[in-house]
Symmetry: D3
Subunit: 69 residues, 6 copies
Amino acid sequence: MKYGARNRTRATVKSIRKGDIMSLVKFTVSDPHEMASVLTSESVSDLDLKAGEQVELIIKAIHVLPVKD
Amino acid sequence: MKYGARNRTRATVKSIRKGDIMSLVKFTVSDPHEMASVLTSESVSDLDLKAGEQVELIIKAIHVLPVKD
Amino acid sequence: MKYGARNRTRATVKSIRKGDIMSLVKFTVSDPHEMASVLTSESVSDLDLKAGEQVELIIKAIHVLPVKD
Amino acid sequence: MKYGARNRTRATVKSIRKGDIMSLVKFTVSDPHEMASVLTSESVSDLDLKAGEQVELIIKAIHVLPVKD
Amino acid sequence: MKYGARNRTRATVKSIRKGDIMSLVKFTVSDPHEMASVLTSESVSDLDLKAGEQVELIIKAIHVLPVKD
Amino acid sequence: MKYGARNRTRATVKSIRKGDIMSLVKFTVSDPHEMASVLTSESVSDLDLKAGEQVELIIKAIHVLPVKD
């Protein structure tokens, strides 16, 4: 698959906190680095995510904010 | 500084392509991993980014899209 | 593929206006409906988009703004 | 009204799942196509959305992600 | 009009820098405060924005990032 | 600190409604103007936000939608 986004990373599902409408999923990118995604709980069910599974994380470059001291 | 965002990463500026309105900046996160940010060229000037500089990349968790085979 | 997003649509590339940093791609969803995407020109090159091609458009539900008279 | 966004669609409210902070609203765009929006539950109250009502869905082109096999 | 977004502000167009694909528009919110929007140059043409005009700026709450020292 | 974003505003925390996964925080910008942010409840805890505190609100220009009558 090819995505219209500059950032993609292989990641492993670390934990899933499923709320009523929105869920928070945490990923291990390369130990000990961790990333988080918020998505609808429906999407979490459709993806059928389980801790330890491999996924890919896609982030459009427009959503990356650089900060400098 | 504390940010209202789940994802933050130390990164090094790798390259800057400055357009008229928007610019594309690439970062080395941990070699050989790379991330990209699109921001206004005005922001690039204000940040005064130069290749090799250290910045922090902030991404709200809502902008991370998990994909699964 | 399964995406952590509520909205996905089959679409046909209608036109591509490639700028230096950002590009504007238009899609026919179901005639005469049209959708537009802005992405980096690098992503357009990587996707190797051509008018008439089939793609899928993914939109996270958080980015859909309802408006009512 | 004129919007600074490339995508706008007439849509009908299909269902509303209202959570404490965030809500998930589903729309019929043109049967059987469906779209979803996540917004604050406060916004859902202010819009006073009811199943069967007509709204317009606005999406900035920057939030549309093309994917290709 | 009612919007599915928590933030809306009356604003006056201060300047428009129109690029090939994307444009940068600056607004005076309440002097001397200023806000900026990036949108497609097509949207700027459709809105027919001119310096001094009144518009409304809509921002979904999910896109507001709080930062604390 | 310098941010890769065009919009930043000093603001005062007015109220916090903390949900299971997502929270809604309201700010006074300059009385009686108010802004709202949705972020993960984890981020609210990390920021340790309290009503009356000073924060800065960062918004990328790409997320500002101009609307005109």
